[in-house]
Every structure is written in structure tokens, then in C-alpha cells.
Symmetry: C2
Subunit: 663 residues, 2 copies
């Protein structure tokens, strides 16, 4: 028994008070962000597990944590004494978390905090339950020293970095919604996705570590739009607040109006002078509040909060795509991406019989296709960042075995070198510096206590990235620090071939990541090897290091295939080999989708390389390469030297010449 | 003005009688077969167009034929004087036929023959219409000398060819339906797909040219099953017949019962002695007729036939997959694959408020995975057929320019040589023997009038196949008959590289055709070339030469991705280059999905080659091949010689040695 088992006991008392049989806790925030701030780390508070992804399920008698393969060992350690059982998520005999909740909550009372569970997930886990209670955040009620939600300064992306006005982006989003032909005469489109909002409004902040976004919602209507964010508990309190404060537009006392203005009018709006008329904005917000709150509260019989969720579902919520029935003409709809918007928000509208329809956020695709300005900026940022990694490579290969180095030293070196860049803000994710067998853990993170000492032997895997004011980077290289095994050389060489073959693929317009993934995997598969992750992901522009809607994987996910690869999309190319307890190799470049050629047979695309760092020739065994692979490697290294020489001093230039020599 | 414009006028008179504004005519039968018998060639009767696929739409003033790229030239010729406009299906500015019907029929009365339009397509084209009339086959009413529907002798597949009993197949289908957890306490599963029925019941016939199937329906229930087929207008009249003949199980006179028995009990059932008890079968049929007809007709207010289709849709029909709502517990459902079953059949049940749910026919996947017996048989059939093509290759390369040869001679030679095989039944499709520029037409068919004379120059593309009692074959080779251009050599060589690279791909379990397609296309795409068709399709076992559920394409179709590639699936590998007015190249092998290896990283699959015919070395320019490609070609040719030598006489053996020499 330990502090966490006490907390679970406390949680069970609150569950009993509320009549809840099964309580579900996600690793999420109100925006279904991939990475969450400390305020939202309810799982760590209740279980001690500090990984970046997971699910906790608590019943009267038992409690479980779902952790994926990256965290099996760590989670087992952290759960010790808590009484919480580890579910090895991803193992064939372990159910998916939503299916597990369904089975536990069958014909019982299910509870969760509806603010932080996205609508679609909440609907899925609620399917079998007798009743669902989503109004209370029971973990929050126990968590007395909970960190405040972070609301940092918001800054505007200058036109020379973002290249498109808010006005133009809003126009394109409205056009996309028009094209969907949803059959609503009017709509309020609510956006929760933080990076989408940052992109649309050309704003950035630091509310989530490594992700330069601001906690916010946005509402876009045919003739109006509103960015909603402020400094006081906005994200978590949204649902409660809007419910608690109905406002009369005409008869309400000025003092109450003022309160609304103060609370819902974003301070940042004042800076958005080219897009937002502050008076109109105030009027809009009041009208908005009136429409969605006052009218409905006053005139409708509001469904009780704990009514059977199943009755609310299906009847009023429809998918606005495929063969789903359209809204009736003449209705006003709330549009939202139900994979992003919290269940409480959905229920707020749905309980008031306001029609809610799902749409995929159209900004996700738009954001994925970089414009000329963004491309120009990110190319520069990537070259400067490549120079940092070249310096690291030179330093670590020369110093290993000579001075004391451990895995933490790598992160320190990178932070120091990147910080010399005036445009550097912060790392784009926690640096992975993994020596020898630690490299087999895809998302390994060294700590001062555990950091492995680095010697002049074996392989060091370094996966890191920077948030610069002009671009986001993500780069992995594996360095050969001395003698390596035959197996390690084979793994290193096949990984190089994999990365280069995908980088050099040509493909016809219309292809998706699922079509081209095999270009990277084929050398692995020919050896009977595979890496258990995607080959590539989209990268934001001064935004999240992981972004959609495209990626490079072979499996078609439950939500259907990834987006078609389009000119202007940035995507990583990061094959690897992972051997538990032995070693890990990964080589990762960023690539840009660009035109290749246009012929009578169609328009063809290719990848332009954005990352200019050598592939450590000390790890290459040419017997594993075809003649074609050797040509690709030599051409790549030639371009690395040509591109990077101007960024380096003479000593490094000379060294780079050697490490980009033809083989 | 010609005979076809007269027929269109006649059709318009019938449309006017019935109050129909827009009449739609498909190229289909009651089973949504890919190829249809003469009885169902309504489009040819009404328009003169003799292609294998198309759609006709007729309004009071206008008429259109949709024909795809294979048929643009042919259709334009055949439509001349008919007043029917050609819609070049597949061109960017031409809408899809269903969308076109929607736009024409908006708020109007739409007519079609509900027997021959599958349910899902009928629902789609009906979406915008005011009213839908699907009861009359107006073309059939005009077509006085219409060929009878073909009902040929049915034969049983012996166990040594098919390897699995009907009982076992039925058990597996019922298990699959159980697993779907549809929420019906009872079901009647109706199957319309002819090759699925042939596979399930281990029967074959010759009702559709080249496709050894019998016109039939099948009904599978938890405890019973029924194969419904007979010799008198069954397919077309199904809907009318079941409506016209309600039967009382107890009180009905014996003479009427007898009529039912005679009409619905399949003569073939008598031969299915190991599976069907003839008395039980009779009882079942009567119970079946009672359940679906008498009860409902007697007790329910049947919806009028021309009621608004939209009211019937959506409310009662639900997709039995994804997040679709399940049937209520305790209900009996009719299950059917709505992409196969005719709309009249669907409406028959739906109008009587019998719950109808869609399922993908589970037999399609089962049939796609060949068992050991089928594999053994088809390997033998493919070797014997390879010998035929080798003989053709030897003959045509030697005789071109010496004796008179034209495209028809090729088909004659093939038919003669294949007929020497005692197991040969008929071609598996119309032979494509296309010389020089005719090769650019993917589905060219020579006629006595148009056959091109063959000389000792250029390239000859031959795509042909046989239906043998032990297997179905599909093979393409392009032969070099003399001097060819540089472009032709490049096309021929890249096609060889494409075919061989896919044939030699290794892939992890879980991959689909969409994942591996690029292995064939990459050499083309690197040249800025593409072929405008899939790379491969499934092949039936003594069944249709095209079968699903898998294929090899890069585009993900409107119905979602193709099936995962599984051990035991047969698929073709047929890249090509097509240059209108100049030449066409295609090289096609059949392949079997087999295990490659199993390692700590997973289970891997590969293709086993099934087709042993040289790739004409006279067309290979090694400058377009990588070293790897050369190895693949030499290995392939070595296996061709080793495998085929025993099938050939000494002269041919010697010749084959030369044409399988290493390069």
C-alpha cells in the first residue's frame, strides 16, 4: 500500500457517493491533445505512472492501467504497491481500452470527466452502460495541490513566417464547409484542436510543453468567427461556465454583460487588429451566448444530466459524411470534430436538442499543406538544425571514451547549441539519447539517475528536435562510437537503405502513405525484420511535431486511410531496427512532397530532402546494399556536403568531407 | 435514324404510359455479375453497343450511354445514328453514372427494372427522385426476340478438385455470421452472387459464357439451407413469382404445394445426396414460403409499389457493420449483400416490414483463400496452360512473316491447343490478341472483319485463359516478332522489371494490395509512366477469372480498401505500358500468396509464381534494368526451364533453353 492506493481508495469513496460503479480516467485534455500539460496529468496523480499515453479504469474492487509497449517496464515499476494492475496495451490478449470499459461497465453506472474525454470515445465506452455520469472530475476533487492550467503569453505569427492571413484561412474553411453540403441553413462550427486553432488564427503560445499552442476554442460561422481563450481556467471550466452564466442580451444588467465580456473575450483579440473588429466581436459573443444558452435554457425542457446516454445518441447525432442522412433544410447545426471536442460540450448542445453534426476539422488538411512562405522558413530552420546535429555527431564520435559522457550530456549539448540560434524557443519534444540497449526503447528518456555512461563502442541513438520561430524540426541519427556487432552493422545498413529508398520514391498523384510505406520497409521485410511503428508522420510548422492528416504507415487505421499525399506536405522518413536488450537503430529525415514530372500518364510527385546530416559511414556494410542503394547513399552524402559546408567552420567542413565520402 | 432510335422511341412510349420521366438501364443481371449472358444484354438491344460494361439513361428528349476508356472508339461507332449520346466514363468532366441519374431524376419519376439493379446502386440513383417505379422491365417488353435465359446442366465439383464439403462451407459461413453479432435471434441469409453460390454448393454450370456458374439463389439459416435454381425463367421472375404464389403450409391444396415444390426445389438438389435430405428440404421450402409470403401478405398492410422510395430507406435498412445500430434482440432478419442482391428482392421484404440488413457475403473471402486441394489442382492446370502459351510463342515467333497470320489465328491456335487437354472446357474470357497499335486497347477483341495481319515486326500482345475442370487460368505475354522501336523496348523492359519486382516482394502479414502495388509501379513511375488499371486481380478456382475480395491496386476504392492478402489467395501480376495508336505491352503471371518466414518481428508472406512462360528476351534492353532486376529475370527464366521442360518435346525444349538463357 502506498500513496497511490490511498488515492484510489479516496476516489472509490467519491464514486460511492455518486453511485458510480466504474470510473474511467484518460490521458487527455479538453482538446484531445496528444501531449498534455501537468494540469491534465490525472493518471500520474492517481497511479504514479508518468508516461505520455495511458488509460486508467477503476471499479469498486479493482483498478487497471493501460500502457503501451514503450512503457511496459516503466509502468510496472511505477505501479508497484498501488494495487493497480498493468494492462500491456498492444499485446494480443489485452483488449482495447474502450472495449475493456464496455465490458466492465455493462449494465452499470459509468463515470468519467466529460471535459477531457472526446465525444466519440465517450460514446463508445458508454455503449453498454446503464447510466453515465460525466459531470464531475473526481480525480480533480481529490487532487488538492493540482498545478494550474498553464496560460502563457500568446504571440502572433508574423506574415513573413506564416504567409497567409487569418481572413484567407477562414474563407477557405467556410468554403470547405459549404462544399460538404450538410443541409444546414446556418451553422456554428466549434473547433477544439489546439494546433488547428493556432494555425487558423496565426497565433502561438506555450500552454503545452514542446507544443507552441494556446488553450482555446474557436467558433466559425458563415458571417462571424470567434477565438475563445482567456487566462482563468478556461479549458476545464468551459462546460460549467457556459451552463452557469446565461445572459440576456437586452435586459441583462451592464455589470453582468461586462463579466461575460471579461471572461469570454480573448485578450489576444485586441492584437488581431487586421482581422477582428473588437466591437463586433463583443456583439457576436453576446449573441452567441444568447443563442446557445439563454434561449434554450429558458424555453426548453432540458434533459436531466444523468439520463441514459444511449437515448441521446443515435437519434440526434449523425455523421456528416458518407451516406449519413443530411440535416433538414432550414436548421442551424453545431458542427464539431467529435474526435476532438469533449463529451461535455457535445452533451451541452445535445441535451438542449440543438442538432450536432460531426465533421473532420477541414483546417487539419489545410494546415498539413505548407505554403511557400512556410516552406522557405522550414527549409532554413532544418538546415540550421542539421548543423547542430552535425556538430553533435563530430563531438560525440570524437569525445566518446576520452571525456566523461552520458546520455544526459547529449541533451545538454543539443540545448546549448540550439540555444545559440536566436530563433530557437524550446525542444519540439523530449530528447531521446539512448545508448546501446536503451536504443531499443523507441521513446526512451534518460534521467539524471538512470543515464547510461557513453563509451567508445556500440551505437548511440539520438532523436531530437527544436521549436524555432520559423520552423519545427525532428531528426534522428544513430552514431557508431566504436566496435559494433555484425548484427548491428546489418541493422544500421538496412535502415539506411530503407530511409533512402523511400526518400527517392516517385509516385503518381493520389497516392497515400499506405501506398509508399513499403518503399522503406522492403529491405527490412526481405530480411524478415520489421519495426513496430509507422515510417513517418506529418510535422507542424512552428507547431506540434506530430500532425496529420497524412502519415506513412502500411496499416489502414480504424478511422480509414490516411490523407492523400499532396504537394507541400512535410513528412518524416524514419525506419529502424529495435532489438530488446541489445540495440536500437533509427535514421530519420524530414521530407517535403514536391512535383516530379507531368506526362501523358499523369502528374507525379516525389520527396525533396530537408535534413542534411551524414548517415554514419562507420556503420555501413556495403554487402547489405544493392548497387542502386550505394548510388542513393553517395548522392545523398554529396548533397549533404554541398548544402551544409557554408554552415560549418573549416575543421568541421574537413571532417564532413570525410564523412560524406563516396563508398 | 436507325433501328436503335426506333427502339428508344418505343421505350419512350412505354415510359409515358407508366408516367416515367427518366429510365435507367444497367449492364447487369439479377446477381450483379461482372459479365452477363445474352438474355441480359438490354443495353446492346436498345443502343447497339456491344461492350461488356455500360449504363444507359433515357429521358423524354435525350438518351446517353456511359462507356469506359476501353470502349470510347467502339461505342462512338456503334451509337452512330441512334441519337444516343456517348458519355466518356472516366474522363474528368464526365460524372459517375449514379450521380448523373441523380441529377436527371431530381424531383422526377425514375424507372428501372428492379430485378437487375443491385440494391445499393438502386438506392443511390433513387435518392433525388420524386417517385421510383422498378416493377416493369420496359426493355424486355419491347425485345420480342430476346434470347432465353440460359440454364445449362449443373455438374458437381468432385472432392478431389474442390477439397471441402458443402457442409463444412455452410458451417464456416454460419460461424462468420454468428461472429458478426448482428443481434438477430434468427436470420435468413439470401445470397445472389453466382460464383459464391457455385463455391458454397460445389456446383458448376455454363449459364454465363466463360464463367462456369449456374443462375441461382441460396438461402442459409441457422438450421437449414436451400439452393434455389431451376430451368424456367428463375432469375428474372423471382420477384414476381414469389409475390404471386403465397402458400398455406397446412390448408393449401396438395396440387398447389406440388407446384411450389416443382418450381422452387432445385433439380440439382437430388444430386447433393451427402448434404441435403430431400424431404427436409421440401419442408423447409414450404416453411420458408409461408414465413416470408403468407404471413405478411395476410396480416400486413403492404406498402404500395410506387411509394416514395426515400421513406422506405433509412428507417428500416441498416448497415450491419461499423457503428450501425444493431437489430433488436428477438427479431428475425433477412441478411443480404446489398451490392449483389437486386432491388426488387430487397423491396419485396422491406415493403412487408421485414427487417433487412446488409452483410458482405462471407463466402467471398473464404472462396478467395484456396485450400490445399484447389492449390494442387490449379498449379497443375497453370503448368499445362503455360505449355500451351510456350507453344504459341514458339510458333508465332517462327511463323510471323512466313505464313499468313492475323489476330484471329492466335485465338484459333490457342483454342486448338487447349482443346487437346481433356480437362479443358472453354476459354475463361475472350482472347485478346492485339498486334502493334491494337495492343494499346486493354480489352481489344479481334473479329474476322477487323483482324490485323501479323508480320515479322513489332509486338503482339496475347492475353488469354482457359477454364479447365481443375483450374482457371489468365496469362498475358507480349511477343517480339521482329524490329521494334527504342520506346517499345524500354516499355517491354520496364514492364518485365515491374512484374518481377512485385513477384519477388516480401511483406508482413496484414498487408493489402494497396500496400504492395508500388512494387510493380515504381519502375514505371520513375520513368513518369503509369498504366491506367489495377496491377492484379483475384482468380477463381474453376470459376470467374476476376474475383475478390483482394486485388492489387494503389487507389483505395469507394467501398474501402481491398481485403488483406492471406496465404492461399491467388492474384495476377500484370503491369503494362499502353501508347494509343502505337503499341501496348503487358506481362501477366498468376501468383499464390504463401508463407515467407516467421521471426521475432512477425509472420511474413511472399508470392509463389504459378505461370512458367519466358519473358521474350528479344524485347529486353538491359540498360533499363538494375543489377537486381537482371538477377530476378535470370532466376525466373531458370525456374521456367526447369518446370516446363518435362511438358515439351525435344525441339521445344531446345528452343526454350535459348529463350530462358541468362542475360
Amino acid at each position: 500500500m502506498n500513496i497511490y492506493s490511498d488515492r484510489i481508495d479516496h476516489l472509490r469513496k467519491l464514486m460511492a457517493e455518486e453511485g458510480i460503479d466504474v470510473y474511467y480516467i484518460p490521458m487527455s485534455d479538453c482538446h484531445n491533445s496528444e501531449y498534455v500539460g501537468d494540469h491534465f496529468r490525472c493518471i500520474e496523480f492517481i497511479s504514479g505512472f508518468s508516461g505520455s499515453a495511458g488509460h486508467v479504469v477503476v471499479t469498486k474492487e479493482e483498478a487497471w492501467l493501460f500502457a503501451d509497449g514503450r512503457y511496459y517496464i516503466q509502468a510496472a515499476n511505477q505501479l508497484e504497491g498501488s494495487g493497480i494492475k498493468l494492462m500491456k496495451w498492444g499485446q494480443p490478449d489485452v483488449p482495447e481500452p474502450d472495449v475493456f470499459v464496455q465490458s466492465q461497465a455493462k449494465d452499470k453506472v459509468l463515470g468519467f470527466d466529460g471535459n477531457v474525454v472526446n465525444t466519440n470515445f465517450a460514446k463508445r465506452i458508454s455503449k453498454t452502460a446503464k447510466t453515465v455520469r460525466f459531470q464531475r472530475d473526481l480525480v480533480g476533487e481529490i487532487w488538492t495541490d493540482r498545478p494550474e492550467q498553464s496560460f502563457t503569453d500568446i504571440w502572433r505569427m508574423p506574415q513573413e513566417y506564416c504567409g497567409e492571413s487569418v481572413e484567407s484561412k477562414l474563407r477557405r474553411i467556410r468554403d470547405e464547409i459549404e462544399k460538404m453540403d450538410l443541409g444546414c441553413s446556418n451553422y456554428s462550427y466549434l473547433i477544439a484542436s489546439l494546433d488547428d486553432i493556432a494555425w487558423i488564427y496565426n497565433i502561438r503560445a506555450n500552454d503545452v510543453p514542446n507544443n507552441p499552442v494556446a488553450y482555446a476554442y474557436a467558433v466559425i460561422e458563415p458571417e462571424a468567427n470567434q477565438l475563445l481563450t482567456h487566462g482563468e481556467g478556461y479549458g476545464r471550466e468551459w462546460y460549467k461556465r457556459v451552463k452557469a452564466e446565461p445572459v440576456l442580451p437586452d435586459t441583462v444588467p451592464e455589470v453582468v454583460k461586462e463579466k461575460i465580456r471579461e471572461k469570454v473575450i480573448n485578450p489576444v483579440a485586441k492584437t488581431l487588429s487586421d482581422n477582428v473588429d473588437i466591437e463586433k466581436l463583443k456583439e457576436f459573443v453576446i449573441a452567441q451566448v444568447k443563442k446557445t444558452l439563454y434561449d434554450t435554457i429558458e424555453n426548453e425542457n432540458i434533459a436531466s444530466d444523468d439520463k441514459d446516454i444511449k437515448s441521446a445518441e443515435g437519434e440526434k447525432t449523425e455523421e456528416a459524411k458518407g451516406n449519413a442522412p443530411k440535416a433538414e433544410k432550414g436548421t442551424t447545426c453545431i458542427l464539431m470534430d467529435m474526435n476532438r471536442v469533449g463529451y461535455s460540450v457535445f452533451r451541452y448542445f445535445d441535451d438542449r436538442r440543438i442538432k450536432v453534426m460531426h465533421i473532420d476539422d477541414p483546417s487539419t488538411r489545410m494546415k498539413g499543406v505548407k505554403n511557400e512562405t512556410e516552406i522557405k522558413c522550414l527549409k532554413e530552420a532544418l538546415k540550421r538544425d542539421s548543423a547542430v546535429i552535425i556538430k553533435l555527431m563530430h563531438w560525440v564520435k570524437n569525445q566518446a571514451g576520452k571525456i566523461h559522457l552520458d546520455e544526459m550530456s547529449i541533451d545538454e549539448f543539443l540545448l546549448k547549441k540550439r540555444s545559440e540560434d536566436p530563433l530557437f524557443m524550446e525542444p519540439s519534444f523530449d530528447t531521446i539519447a539512448a545508448y546501446k540497449e536503451n536504443g531499443a526503447m523507441m521513446h526512451y528518456e534518460a534521467t539524471a539517475q538512470t543515464a547510461k555512461s557513453i563509451e567508445a563502442e556500440g551505437m548511440l541513438l539520438v532523436d531530437s528536435g527544436g521549436q524555432y520561430k520559423d520552423g519545427t524540426t525532428d531528426i534522428t541519427r544513430t552514431f557508431i562510437l566504436g566496435p559494433v556487432t555484425e548484427e548491428e552493422k546489418k541493422a544500421f545498413t538496412l535502415t539506411a537503405a530503407s530511409m533512402l529508398r523511400l526518400l527517392n520514391a516517385k509516385f503518381i498523384e493520389g497516392c497515400r502513405g499506405e501506398n509508399v510505406d513499403i518503399m522503406a520497409r522492403e529491405p527490412m521485410w526481405q530480411a524478415g525484420w520489421d519495426y513496430k511503428c509507422g515510417t513517418g508522420h506529418g510535422v507542424g510548422h512552428v507547431l506540434n511535431v506530430h500532425e496529420g492528416p497524412h502519415n506513412i504507415r502500411y496499416r489502414i487505421g480504424a478511422n480509414g486511410p490516411s490523407a492523400v499525399l499532396e504537394e507541400g506536405m512535410v513528412v518524416t522518413d524514419e525506419p529502424g531496427v529495435y532489438r530488446e536488450g541489445q540495440f536500437g537503430v533509427r535514421t530519420e529525415n524530414e521530407m517535403l512532397v514536391v512535383p516530379f514530372t507531368e506526362t501523358e500518364d499523369g502528374k507525379f510527385l516525389q520527396f525533396e530532402n530537408l535534413t542534411f546530416i551524414p548517415i554514419d559511414l562507420d556503420g555501413i556494410d556495403t554487402s547489405y546494399l544493392t548497387e542502386e542503394d550505394k548510388k542513393l547513399l553517395n548522392n545523398y552524402h554529396e548533397s549533404v556536403y554541398e548544402t551544409m559546408a557554408p554552415y560549418l567552420d573549416d575543421e568541421l567542413k574537413l571532417w564532413l568531407k570525410e564523412y560524406t565520402r563516396p563508398i
